[in-house]
Amino acid sequence: MSPDELKSPAKRAGPVERESQILALILKVGVDIPEISRRSGVPAETVRYIYKEHIVKRRMRVQRELDHEKLGLSHIQFILTADPELESVFFNGTLLSGVWEQLYVNLVYRVIPDDLFFLSHLAPPAFHPKLRELYSNLEDLGILKVHETYDCSRLTHPRMWVEDYNWEMPGWDFDWSPTSLKPPQNIEDPPASEPVKFDKTDLLIIQHLQYRYDQRISDIAAKNSIDRSLASWHFRKHVKARDIFGGYRINWLGTGRELRKGMAAQQHQSFVAINFIAKDLSSAEMMNVRAYLHSIPYLYGEKVGASDYDAETFIPSSSLVEAFGFFARILRPLQGRAKIITVDQSGAANYTINPALFDADSQRWIYNGDLVLEAFKKALAAGTLGTSWKAGREKGAEANSG
């Protein structure tokens, strides 16, 4: 759908086309009902109704791409085995999940059926060597074993295939046959950004907008005990003016966070999270792999490094047979440098950026890895490692159920 078509109010669309049209406009302008109505020619109340009934109620969420580079952050990933007694610290909902937030972890999940954990950190590049060292120290302590490290620094989310989305299913009626796949000739990545100035208030606002971009700044201010006008000023002058958030994207999985319950819905029955991860790729291999992964609508996000690559896909369970065939065609030529891993979605946790790791006085990100290491050492020396964390987990579970 070209921008011209979108602007034409005269063009009347059918009910399904209309929903796709609105979704396409949301990707351009966000949830701006009057603007969508103006551009599409659909009455504002109809747009509002469709947004509420067909998007919000399906738990699809409109989010904005956070430009991590502007905040001076980039990703690094570790695949590791943990001491079985310490597994509880890797799960969300525990009191001690805060340990990982101290280490800039933004994604943790268990790989099944292997007993592996995948941890992705979003930290200043200067801290990446420190994180490697920390893991090495934890290995020496016998707490965990790192199997692989990946430098997939930039995260992007491909545009949702709005035009092909089947609202009846809902999903994509996708033809997996190799002849039907049309890998794009080239993939346009957003240009690299330079770090910008920001402060702790900006980060607090950003953290909340990462959950849902359609939150009111006044609500965010109230939650964080910030003066409303001050929060608004920071949002306009810093967050917005410096374009810290990039384009709009849609969480099409239907796992949007229920603000009232404060929990994300699990849809692990309908989609299987399968990640494709590769190391030491040449630039030609990288291009080829990415082109193939972009030829399916189920590519949700990708982290790209100089030679490492991590793609996050959500495959409908009904298409698993075809999807494995698809992955096999990409994997085999890479001869052991790539693999696919199945994510245990029931224990996976995504973290937003942590403003507590930004020092307001020095206006710099801080590194607490040494403190974490010390805590581990003390716990080991006291013989409380494992049992205390288990107790902590139980408390956490009680707190959650309460």
Binding site: I112, P113, A328, L331
Partner: protein
């Protein structure tokens, strides 16, 4: 409609029927699709059993096959995990067919992601070492550049667990969250004495291995034997000597092509997977076996120093199965290798009756002929590639 005053006794018709079908299936697993006997076992009218067998089995593609008692036939199983050299990949079908004709290959599947082949070789016990050496030779001459040969003393097709199957809708209902059973009673494959049998018995076994619901008359016509001879061999030898050990209901959608004598499969419903664990202590093997036998989706298992199992998991239960495998692996402390299987590149052959010498009543294995045939293949492929190169 329930009569007045009897509402508390009223059960929906569907539930009763499914219970009847469960009992009927269990009877079929014991005695085969012999309608009269099944009707007697379950106490349902013969015509009702016949109707239900046609409606819920035949029309839904649930074939009943005989489980041959390979122990009584004196066979052992090798499972070979091998990579076919790239040059021969496009010839995989003739290569596998040749192996089935000459080297007791009874089935193979390709693993989707790794591109390996899992070969099932069912070979007379006396020829096991020779057969194993023959496959090693194929590895040395470059047909299979990677090869791991695993020997299994016991193997079995796992009986269907009909209590988890909803026959009306053709779906499984298994509660993954339910507590695991503390113990599972496994039906031992037994280590029976080797029985006598002849070529005609093998032909009958081959037919029943394919479809146990075939009438004897039909089989006699196909095998060009008189009905009397066939019935004598069937009753006296096949049944009398216990060469068939129960029956299996092919619930995983595999189909059999009568013309080509090859098994195919129905995709899109189940994801076929194989699990392999090697270097096991006895207690680890027992725990693995118990863990997998709790799943209604277990299709085949073999144990020896290693454990191998094939599982057909409904697509929507894929993640749950992986979680369960992780738990089993953690409990036993055994790393489990998992393969996704591509049944599009897999076939199952019947017992290798062609390798039985009816005159001398012995099984044959000609290593020299096999090697010569494969060396000839290498020359042909190399010539072909040379031709393509020029």
């Amino acid at each position: 409609m329930p009569s007045p005053g009897k509402e508390e006794d009223y059960q929906p018709k569907f539930d009763n029927r499914n219970d009847d079908l469960v009992r009927m299936t269990k009877a079929i697993l014991e005695v085969g699709p012999r309608i009269g006997e099944v009707a007697r076992c379950v106490g349902i009218h013969k015509e009702t059993v016949r109707y239900r067998f046609r409606k819920f089995f035949v029309e839904r593609g649930l074939v009943v096959q005989a489980n041959l008692d390979y122990q009584r036939l004196g066979f052992r199983r090798l499972i070979i995990v091998a990579r076919l050299a790239d040059a021969y990949e496009r010839h995989f079908f003739p290569i596998m067919s040749a192996l089935s004709e000459m080297c007791y290959l009874t089935g193979f599947m390709q693993t989707t992601l790794e591109g390996l082949y899992i070969l099932h070789v069912v070979v007379p016990a006396g020829l096991r070492d020779e057969c194993s050496r023959l496959y090693e030779t194929l590895h040395k001459i470059g047909i299979f550049p990677e090869m791991q040969i695993l020997t299994f003393e016991e193997f079995r097709s796992v009986p269907m667990k009909p209590e988890y199957y909803d026959f009306s809708n053709g779906v499984w209902s298994f509660d993954w969250r339910a507590d695991e059973l503390s113990s599972v009673t496994l039906i031992s494959s037994g280590k029976a004495e080797v029985e006598k049998y002849d070529y005609t018995d093998l032909l009958i076994l081959k037919e029943f291995d394919r479809d146990a619901s075939q009438p004897l008359m039909e089989i006699s016509k196909r095998l060009k034997l008189t009905y009397k001879t066939l019935e004598h061999h069937y009753r006296r030898h096949v049944l009398g000597r216990g060469l068939i050990r129960r029956y299996r209901v092919v619930w995983n959608g595999s189909t059999y092509n009568q013309r080509t004598e090859k098994a195919g499969s129905m995709r899109h419903t189940y994801l076929p997977m194989a699990v392999l664990a090697t270097g096991l202590a006895d207690w680890q093997r027992a725990k693995l076996q118990a863990g997998f036998n709790q799943l209604p989706f277990l299709w085949f298992e073999a144990s020896g120093p290693s454990y191998y199992a094939e599982v057909f998991v409904p697509l929507e239960s894929y993640s749950e199965l992986l979680k369960r495998i992780r738990e089993i692996s953690a409990r036993t402390g055994v790393p489990i290798r998992l393969f996704i299987l591509d049944y599009g590149k897999g076939l199952r052959f019947s017992i290798a009756y062609g390798l039985y010498d009816p005159e001398r009543r012995v099984w044959r294995l000609s290593a020299a002929d096999t090697i010569a045939r494969f060396e000839n293949l290498i020359v042909n492929v190399n010539n072909q590639r040379g031709g393509e190169g020029t």
